[in-house]
């Protein structure tokens, strides 16, 4: 299973904090996004936001990367701490 997290404003927009996706359904960030949008068509407007940040296992990924079972993928808006 792949653990998927939505944080901050994105969590509120989707109404979901986390979900699991079978690793056989997705092999990369791009296919994960496609999978999520197919299952939740109204998420498309939020997940297609080009400013959205993506982290795999707590590290930022700037381009598409392969993901596998056990990975934690987080989607979140630009950060505003400090």
């Amino acid at each position: 299973m792949i653990q998927v997290l939505f944080l901050a404003q994105l969590r509120e927009q989707l109404g979901v904090a986390e979900l699991q996706v079978g690793a056989d359904s997705v092999v990369s960030i791009a296919t994960l996004k496609d999978y999520l949008v197919v299952n939740h068509p109204h998420w498309e407007q939020f997940l297609s936001n080009s400013k959205l940040l993506v982290a795999v296992n707590h590290q930022y990924v700037k381009t598409d990367v392969a993901i596998a079972s056990g990975d934690e993928v987080a989607f979140f808006p630009p950060v505003t701490g400090g």
Partner: protein, 156 residues
């Protein structure tokens, strides 16, 4: 405690942070701190309180990476980062960054770098409540990203 990171709900005491930063150290001729606080007016909104969310696990790792990068760039003796999360009121302290060095230019630059990278890399998010009851996620500032990019080297 020489290089430390703390993400916490409780408040911090600046005098104590300073004392810990220089404890037993007579080489640190220069100490620079930054404290960020909840201010009453942000982007023309009358702020009364703020909720700070983060991504536990990732936050600490990113702060550690920023700290490590800072240590490779400047000649530091000690550095502390303290960042609060949870519910904060107007005037409350949000973040403390303190660095010590034998050289003032290293201390100043390292503190600015830590803040610029923390602001644009560490997964914290602010949600402000205003006097009128409006609750708004704070937008990232383009200026913060521009400031962070000042530190880019050819390697990045």
């Amino acid at each position: 405690m020489t290089f430390s990171i703390s993400v916490q709900t409780q408040d911090f005491d600046v005098g104590r942070e300073y004392a810990e930063l220089i404890a037993g150290d007579t080489a640190a001729g220069a100490v620079v701190f930054f404290v960020g606080r909840v201010r009453d007016l942000n982007n023309a909104r009358d702020v009364t309180s703020m909720s700070l969310e983060h991504y536990p696990g990732m936050t600490e790792k990113i702060l550690q990476q920023i700290m490590d990068e800072t240590k490779t760039r400047w000649d530091l003796i000690a550095a502390h980062i303290v960042h609060r999360v949870g519910e904060l009121q107007m005037g409350d302290q949000i973040v403390f960054v303190g660095v010590t060095s034998a050289h003032r230019e290293h201390a100043f630059q390292a503190a600015e770098f830590l803040m610029d990278y923390l602001k644009t890399r560490a997964p914290f998010w602010k949600k402000e409540s205003t006097k009128t009851g409006e609750v708004t996620w704070v937008d990232a500032k383009e200026g913060d990203e521009v400031r962070a990019r000042r530190w880019y080297t050819d390697q990045q």
